[in-house]
Amino acid sequence: MMDKYTFLQKIGIYSSLALFILFMLLPFVEMFIASLRPLTHLFSRPDVPVGETMTFMDFMSRFYSDKMSFQAYRDMWVTVPQLPRYIFNSVFLSTAVTFFSMCFIVPAAYAYARFDFRGKTISLTLFLAVNMFSGAVLLIPLYKLLRVYGLLNTYWAMIIPGVAFLIPTGIWLLKSFLEKIPYELEEAAFVDGASRLYTLRRVILPLAVPGLIVVGVAMFIGAYAQQFLFAITFNQDRDYMPLPAGIFEFIGYQDVLWNEMMAASLVGILPVLLIFLFMQKHLIAGLTSGAVKE
C-alpha cells in the first residue's frame, strides 16, 4: 500500500529524523556533558601541537575525562547559596501566574465558547492582537505603573505582567476545549431551574476538567519560560529572582563556572521537563486542536 516504504526510503526517513532531533537536543546533551567535566578539563582545548591539525581523537577527547563526576551538582549550592531560593521562586512564580491567569481565563473562555453576543468577534480579535506586543515594547510604562503601586522588587512585579501576557492565548485554547462540551447538558440544567452560575459551576466545570488541566499546564510552562525579561527589569532583589535571571548573573562572574552553570540550568528545567513528560500526549493534542478543522 501507499504507506509502505522501501528499505532505502526507511533509511532516509530515520536518518533525517535523527539529524533533526540531533539539532533539537544537541544543546542539552552538550550542557549535560559540560556539567560533568571538571573546570580544568572544560578549559583545556584539545591539545593540538603547533602546525598540526586537530584529529578526530583530539576532538573526542573533549567529551571525556577520567575525572568526570557529579561534583558540579554539589558545588553549585555552595557557589550560589541562593540557588534553592531561585528554583523555589521559579516554581512559585509560575504557579502563581497559572493560578491568577486561570481565574481570568475560565469565565472569559466560557463566555466565548457558549454565547453569541454583541462585540464577540471584535473583542476576541482584540484579545489576540495583544500577541503582537512583546513585553519589551511596554517596559517603560509598566515600570512606572509598578513603581506607582510600590510593586517593584516584589513577586508581583513578575506575576502581574506574566498573567496579562498569558491571558489571550489561554482564552483561545480553553475556548476550543469548551466548545466540545455538548450544549444539551446545559439546557437540561436550565430546564431543571438551575441558574447560569450554578450551571457553570456544577455542570460545565466538572466536564471541562481535562481541558482545564491541559490549559493550566500550558500556562505553567509558558509562565516558566517567560521568566527573564520582567525579572531582569522589574526586580533587583535576589530573594525574588527566578532561576534564569539568577543564572544569568553567573555570566557576570570573573570566571564563568560553566560546569556549575550548566548543572544549575539542567536542575532548573527539571520541573517543566517532568510535567511535559507526563502530559505530553494531552498537551500536544490540546495545543494543536485549533490547527485542525473538524
Binding site: M24, S44, T53, F115, P141, L229, A245, M261, S289
Partner: protein, 313 residues
C-alpha cells in the same frame, strides 16, 4: 441615575446573554486594559517627551517630534531596521522550511512516532533563557563544541569565537532563534498534515502520483492556511524576540545583532532615556502593524486571483 439603570436593564433574552457574557469577560478585559492598553497609550505619550530617570514620575516636557526626528534620522537607524527585517525573514523562512521537513518526517508511517515527536519538543518547553545558556557554551571560541568541530573537520585553522564577529554573531543568533522556534511550527504543521483527508492521498496514489507529487499537490495546498497563519505569528514573535539576542550578545559586537527591540531596550532601560526609548517602541508597533496589514492584503489579493487557500476564516 434610576433612568440609567432602567436603560441598562436587559429587556430581551439576547440582551441578558450579552450582559452576562460581558460580565464573564470583564475581569480579563480589565487586566488587559490595565497592563497592555493603558501602557500602550502611555508609551505613545512618552514618545513625545524627554522623560528620563529624573522625570519618569512627572515633570517631563513635551518636545514634539524631536525624538522621532532623532530616532529616524539617526545614523544607525536604517541599518537597524534592515537588520531587523533580515533577521525576521531569514529566521522565519528557516523555521517554516525546517518545520515542514520535520512535520513530514514525523507524519510518515514509522515506528515510535510518538517518541520522536516528544523528542522534538524540549527547545520549546524549556525556558528560552536556559536554552540560550546552552548555546552560549556551544558557541564558545576556545572550548565550544562547534568551534572544536569545525576545526577538526578542517573548516578553520584554529579556534573561532562565533559571538565575537558581527557576521558570525548574527547568524549564530539566527540559528538559536530557529532552534527555539522550530518545534512549535513543526507541531502545528504535523497536526495540520494529520488533518488532511486520507482519501485525497489514496485517490492520487491509485492514479500513480509519486510521493513528492502528492506532497506538492495535496499536502502543501491543504495545510496552506496553517502555514500562512504560522508564518505571520512567527514573524511577529521573531521581530519582537528579545531574550535570545540579549543573552547571546547583548546586541553586540559593535551593534552587529542590534534589532529594533534590542535598540528599544538599550535606549530605555540601559540609558534611562525613557522618551527616546518609547519612540522606538512606538516605531516597533507601527512597523509591525504595517507589515501585518501588507501581509494580509497581499494574501487576500492572491486568494482572489488564484483561489488559493489563505488565512483560516
Amino acid at each position: 441615575m434610576s433612568s440609567l439603570i432602567q436603560m441598562l436593564k436587559p429587556k430581551t433574552k439576547a440582551q441578558t446573554t450579552t450582559l452576562f457574557a460581558w460580565a464573564l469577560i470583564a475581569p480579563a478585559a480589565l487586566v488587559m486594559f490595565w497592563i497592555v492598553v493603558w501602557p500602550l497609550y502611555e508609551t505613545f505619550r512618552l514618545s513625545f517627551t524627554n522623560s528620563n530617570l529624573g522625570t519618569l514620575m512627572g515633570g517631563a516636557e513635551y518636545i514634539g517630534w524631536e525624538n522621532y526626528e532623532k530616532a529616524i534620522g539617526g545614523r544607525k537607524f536604517p541599518s537597524i531596521v534592515t537588520r531587523t527585517f533580515y533577521w525576521m525573514f531569514l529566521s522565519v523562512g528557516l523555521k517554516i522550511v525546517l518545520g515542514l521537513i520535520g512535520a513530514s518526517l514525523l507524519a510518515s508511517n514509522i515506528r515510535a512516532r510518538g517518541v520522536f515527536r516528544a523528542l522534538v519538543m524540549p527547545p520549546w518547553i524549556v525556558p528560552i533563557a536556559i536554552g540560550c545558556f546552552g548555546w552560549l557554551w556551544l558557541y564558545n571560541g576556545h572550548f565550544g563544541l562547534i568551534s572544536n568541530f569545525i576545526e577538526m573537520v578542517g573548516i578553520t585553522d584554529g579556534p573561532f569565537s562565533f559571538l565575537a564577529y558581527k557576521q558570525s554573531a548574527f547568524y549564530s543568533a539566527v540559528v538559536t532563534d530557529v532552534w527555539i522556534g522550530t518545534p512549535m511550527v513543526t507541531l502545528f504543521f504535523l497536526a495540520a498534515i494529520q488533518g488532511v483527508p486520507r482519501d485525497l492521498y489514496e485517490a492520487a496514489y491509485v492514479d500513480g502520483a509519486s510521493r513528492w507529487y502528492r506532497f506538492r499537490r495535496i499536502t502543501l495546498p491543504q495545510i496552506m492556511p496553517t502555514i500562512v497563519s504560522m508564518a505571520l505569528l512567527s514573524a511577529i514573535w521573531t521581530f519582537n524576540s528579545f531574550e535570545i539576542i540579549w543573552i547571546l550578545t547583548e546586541g553586540g559586537p559593535r551593534g552587529g545583532t542590534t534589532t529594533l527591540i534590542i535598540d528599544t531596550f538599550k535606549t530605555a532601560i540601559f540609558s534611562y532615556k525613557f522618551g527616546a526609548g518609547a519612540t522606538r517602541a512606538v516605531l516597533v508597533v507601527l512597523i509591525l502593524g504595517v507589515f501585518s496589514l501588507i501581509y494580509l492584503t497581499v494574501l487576500d489579493k492572491l486568494n482572489k486571483r488564484y483561489g488559493y487557500s489563505g488565512v483560516q476564516k
